[in-house]
C-alpha cells in the first residue's frame, strides 16, 4: 500500500522535480567515490582470482569476458545496491525517522501537504534514477580494474582482454544488469523510506528504524537478485 501510494503520487502532479534532483545528487553523486573504489577493487580481485584458474585450462584469453560478465550481470548491480543501501539508504531512513519523531511530517500534513509526495517520492525516484548510473560506473571502473591486474600486472595482452570481451558480452547482459539496478533502486527507496516513515519515537526508534532499513533492504536485494536473474537471463 505504501509503495502503491508512493508510485501513484510520483505519477500525478504537482511534481517535485527540484527535490528529486537534490536527492539524486545526494544518492547518486555523493555515492560516486565509494562506488568507484568498490568497483575497481572488485574488478581487480576477480581478475586476480580468475587468471590462474583460466590459465590452468589454457583459457586466460577469456579473462576479459569473465571479469566483464561477472560485473555486468551480477557483481555490479548487487554490490552497487548494497553500497548505496549502506551509504544513502541508512541516511534516508534516519532523516525521515527524525522528521517523524520531531513532528515535521505531522507539520507537513497540517499544512495540507502530502508527506509521501514531499518526503518519500523524491527519494524513491532519485534511487531509481541513481542506481542504474552508479551500476554502469561500477561496471566500467571494475573492468578497468580487471585490466590493470590482468594486463599490467599479469601480462595478458590488452587487445585480447577487450577483444574477447566484445565477443562475449551481449546487449541482453547489459540490459539484464540495468533491470537489476532498477529493481534494487526501487527496493532501496521503498524499504528505507518505509522504515523511516514508520519509525518509533525517540533516538532509539530512529536507530532501530535505520538498522532495520539497512538489513531489510540488503536481504531483499539478494532475494530479488535471484528472482530477477531467473527471469531476465
Amino acid at each position: 500500500m505504501f509503495l502503491g501510494q508512493t508510485l501513484l503520487h510520483s505519477l500525478t502532479p504537482p511534481f517535485k522535480g527540484e527535490r528529486v534532483l537534490r536527492q539524486t545528487w545526494f544518492i547518486g553523486w555523493k555515492s560516486m567515490l565509494v562506488i568507484a573504489l568498490t568497483g575497481i577493487f572488485t574488478g581487480m580481485v576477480v581478475a586476480l582470482q580468475g587468471f590462474p584458474t583460466l590459465r590452468r585450462v589454457g583459457s586466460e584469453a577469456l579473462l576479459g569476458p569473465m571479469v566483464s560478465l561477472s560485473l555486468i550481470r551480477e557483481l555490479g548491480p548487487v554490490l552497487t545496491a548494497l553500497m548505496v543501501t549502506g551509504r544513502a539508504g541508512s541516511a534516508i531512513a534516519a532523516e525521515i525517522g527524525i522528521m517523524r519523531t520531531s513532528e515535521q511530517i505531522d507539520a507537513l500534513e497540517l499544512m495540507g501537504l502530502n508527506p509521501l509526495r514531499y518526503v518519500v517520492v523524491p527519494n524513491v525516484l532519485a534511487s531509481l534514477l541513481a542506481l542504474p548510473v552508479l551500476t554502469v560506473v561500477f561496471d566500467v571502473i571494475g573492468i578497468l580494474g580487471g585490466y590493470l591486474v590482468g594486463v599490467r600486472l599479469l601480462g595478458l595482452n590488452g587487445g585480447t582482454y577487450f577483444g574477447e570481451m566484445s565477443n562475449y558480452v551481449e546487449m541482453k547482459d547489459i540490459l539484464g544488469g540495468i533491470y537489476k539496478a532498477l529493481t534494487f533502486g526501487l527496493l532501496i527507496g521503498w524499504v528505507c523510506c518505509y522504515k523511516g516513515y514508520h519509525s518509533r519515537f525517540g533516538a532509539e526508534g530512529v536507530s532501530a528504524a535505520t538498522t532495520q532499513a539497512v538489513v531489510s533492504a540488503a536481504v531483499l536485494i539478494l532475494v530479488a537478485d535471484y528472482f530477477v536473474t531467473s527471469v531476465v537471463f
Binding site: 520531531s102 515535521q104 507539520a107 500534513e109 497540517l110 499544512m111 495540507g112
Partner: protein
C-alpha cells in the same frame, strides 16, 4: 468554534481519553492543563485529525472532522495554526524558507508578496534578523517563535499550542507566553494552549480546562478554577504552584 463530544482514544489496552467533552467559543484562549501523559497533546492531534478517535466526535468550524473528506480537512487545517512542542521546523530550510513554505506550497502568492508577509510575521515575533539562520543555529525560545510565525503566516482563525514553553528557562518561557498573549490580543484568535506553566498561563487565558484520568474535570475562568474546592484541582494546582500565588494571579482576571 471547536466542539468536542465524548471523545475516546486508547493505545492497546491503555485508555488515554475516556469521554472528553468541551467547547471553545470564537476568540477564546483556553489553557489545557493536566498531568504528564494525561493526553493533552493527543487531544490537540485529535482536533486536527492527525489521529482518529476510537469514539466520539470533534467539530471545528461546525464541521465534523472525522467524516470530512481529504479536501474538506485540508481546508479546515488551512484555517488552523499548530505550534508543535519542538517547533517541527524543517531542518534543511532557513528560518525565512520555513515561514515561507506554507505560502509557497499552498497559495498562489508571488515571491514579492510572500517576502512581505514573511517579513511581517518575523517582525511580529522579533526575529527579522534571524531569517537566514537554520533551525540548528537557533535557541529554544527562537525556535518556538519561528514556529509561531509559521503557524500564523496563513492567517489562521484558530491556533493550537502544544507545550510551547517546554524546555525553556523561566525568563524565555515568560517571554514566549507574553508573545503568545500579545498575538492573541492583537489578532483576536481562538486558541488552545497546552502548558504546565501554572500559574503564569492564568494571566493570558480566558478559560482553564483540566484533563484528568481521561476526562475534562473542569473548564472555568482562571479565577474560578483556582478557587475551586475540587480536591483534584487543588492537588494539581498546589503541586504546580502555591494556591495563594495561583489565586493572586487568577483573581484579578475574573
Amino acid at each position: 468554534m471547536i466542539r468536542v463530544n465524548n471523545l475516546w482514544k486508547s493505545f492497546g489496552r491503555q485508555e488515554v481519553l475516556r469521554g472528553v467533552s468541551f467547547d471553545v467559543q470564537p476568540g477564546e484562549f483556553v489553557a489545557l492543563i493536566g498531568g504528564s501523559g494525561s493526553g493533552k497533546s493527543l487531544l490537540l492531534k485529535l482536533l486536527v485529525s492527525l489521529l482518529k478517535p476510537d469514539n466520539g466526535r470533534v467539530w471545528v468550524f461546525g464541521k465534523d472532522v472525522a467524516v470530512s473528506s481529504r479536501k474538506e480537512l485540508e481546508y479546515l487545517r488551512s484555517r488552523i495554526g499548530f505550534v508543535f512542542q519542538g517547533g517541527a521546523l524543517f531542518d534543511s530550510m532557513t528560518v525565512y524558507d520555513n515561514v515561507a513554505f506554507p505560502l509557497r506550497e499552498k497559495t498562489g502568492l508571488g515571491e514579492k508578496d510572500i517576502r512581505r508577509k514573511v517579513t511581517a510575521e518575523l517582525e511580529l515575533v522579533g526575529l527579522r534578523d534571524a531569517e537566514n539562520k537554520f533551525p540548528a543555529q537557533l535557541s529554544g525560545g527562537m525556535l518556538k517563535r519561528v514556529a509561531l510565525a509559521r503557524a500564523l503566516v496563513r492567517d489562521p482563525e484558530i491556533v493550537l499550542f502544544d507545550e510551547p514553553t517546554t524546555g525553556l528557562d523561566p525568563v524565555v518561557s515568560r517571554a514566549v507566553l507574553d508573545l503568545f498573549s500579545a498575538v492573541h490580543q492583537r489578532l483576536r484568535l481562538t486558541g488552545i494552549l497546552v502548558s504546565h506553566e501554572i500559574p503564569r498561563i492564568f494571566e493570558i487565558v480566558q478559560k482553564v480546562a483540566m484533563l484528568h484520568e481521561g476526562r475534562i474535570v473542569a473548564i472555568e475562568s482562571p479565577g474560578r478554577f483556582c478557587a475551586s474546592p475540587d480536591p483534584i484541582i487543588q492537588q494539581f494546582v498546589n503541586g504546580e504552584a502555591s494556591a495563594q500565588s495561583c489565586l493572586n494571579r487568577g483573581a484579578h482576571l475574573k
